[in-house]
């Protein structure tokens, strides 16, 4: 029997169906529903965990992760601009995608930890929200410069903070936090019971979308492929080191490494399209969806787990 998680097969099935140009497509409203459920579930889990601990004990972790959220795109930007020879706006836009996070990747990492019975700190859903936003702001500043008045910040902040993704995550967090573990029991069959099935459907659609990005890989060449694999690996090392330093568990450290390694393909593309329209969306989406997402799903997550385990062994932690 295969040891591969069935949700990964759904993803591969989606890629296959897309590559052979099958007519398979998740209906739009279903895709929206499935993403909504995923985001709410992740938020709820985090909120329940938050209800069980005083918020201020998390402040050091929150500030460290927030600072990293601002720093990551700054690390990626010069590599793209000077090594990759991309234009300033394209470098800024791709850097923003890589500084931000992918909720889909996070969900798969969570499913991985559950299937392997590895403990992790479930309040990490909060980190997803925290990491989603700073990279967008840094990306816009990198593209536009600090002094320019051409950015409509109110529109950007509206897009970023009141967009569907952040709203659903925050809503889930709040409801989970207010209700606590007992409170959510009545709704748990839909959100927690069906989590992996919903994730499987989501990954099927992601496979189909990934397949549409593969065509542009040939056009944009080796640098983007290399970047899409090496950058996540470097960011995962930073994430793992930060996780260990913050005293997270091995599972939590692996998830933080995965979050750092993941690249956004929903919130950031939308924000960049509105605020940096001259950046070519195909470049950043080819990298984040065509390369980094499948890499993380298929190889990255087990790798980041192994990395964290190794790190803890070296540090003599548990």
């Amino acid at each position: 029997m295969s040891s591969v998680d069935p949700i990964i097969w759904f993803f591969m099935f989606g890629i296959f169906a897309g590559v052979v140009k099958s007519e398979l497509r998740l209906p739009g409203p279903i895709y929206e529903f499935v993403s909504m459920l995923l985001l709410l579930t992740i938020g709820l889990k985090g909120g329940i965990e938050l209800a069980q601990r005083p918020f201020f004990t998390l402040l050091p972790e929150i500030s460290a992760v927030l600072a990293a959220g601002f720093a990551l795109p700054l690390l990626a930007f010069p590599i793209l601009m000077y090594l990759g020879r991309f234009s300033r706006v394209d470098s800024a836009s791709i850097a923003a995608h890589y500084g931000s996070v992918s909720v889909g990747t996070f969900a798969v990492a969570v499913a991985y930890m559950h299937s392997q019975n590895i403990f992790y700190e479930e309040y990490m859903a909060l980190f997803v929200v925290i990491l989603e936003v700073p990279a967008i702001l840094v990306g816009i500043l990198l593209a536009r410069g600090v002094t320019t008045g051409s950015v409509k910040w109110s529109a950007v902040m509206h897009e970023v903070l009141l967009g569907k993704g952040v709203m659903l995550l925050l809503g889930g967090l709040a409801i989970g936090w207010l209700s606590g573990p007992q409170g959510v029991e009545t709704i748990s069959p839909l959100f927690f019971g069906l989590f992996k099935g919903i994730l499987a459907l989501f990954l099927l659609e992601m496979g189909l979308i990934t397949a549409t990005q593969l065509g542009s890989l040939r056009r944009y060449g080796l640098f983007l492929v290399g970047f899409g694999i090496i950058m996540p690996l470097c960011f995962a090392v930073i994430g793992a080191a930060l996780g260990a330093w913050l005293g997270l568990s091995v599972g939590g450290t692996s998830i933080l490494a995965t979050l750092f390694a993941s690249a956004s393909y929903i919130a950031v593309p939308a924000a960049m399209r509105v605020s940096v329209p001259e950046a070519n969306p195909t470049l950043s989406l080819t990298a984040s969806l065509g390369i980094t997402f499948p890499f993380n799903i298929l190889l990255g997550i087990p790798l980041y787990h192994a990395l964290s385990t190794k790190l803890f062994a070296i540090l003599g932690g548990s």
């Binding site: 998740l26 897009e159 979308i209 549409t212 929903i266 593309p269 399209r273 509105v274 001259e278 969306p281």
Partner: protein
């Protein structure tokens, strides 16, 4: 019975829907209808429910002068960096007072 006005039809990226709506309200068009759209053009295949490759179709019925203003404004603001196709046609409508702002 009927009266001749303009129908402006715009196909563009779903990503700019809110900014576009803001623009339409600013110009003072009397109303608009937005539908999800799929298709293929110079920007490649746009097929998804996924926002980054989703398209919308916006239809606006209004008087000719406003339609001209609308077209030039959208052209100036969006043509350079966004996929956008726009056309204007003559239509005969009932209840013309609904479409004059």
């Amino acid at each position: 019975m009927t009266s001749r006005i303009k129908l402006v039809t715009v196909f563009t990226e779903a990503a700019i829907e809110s900014s576009l709506v803001h623009e339409l309200d600013g110009i003072g068009v009397p109303g608009y209808t937005i539908t999800n759209a799929r298709g293929k053009g110079s920007g490649g295949v746009r097929s998804g429910a996924w926002e980054a490759n989703a398209n919308i179709r916006v239809e606006i019925l209004c008087a000719e002068a406003l339609a001209e203003l609308l077209i030039s404004r959208l052209q100036e603001r969006y043509y350079e960096h966004y996929s956008m196709v726009m056309y204007m046609s003559d239509v005969d409508v009932l209840r013309p007072e609904k479409f004059s702002s």
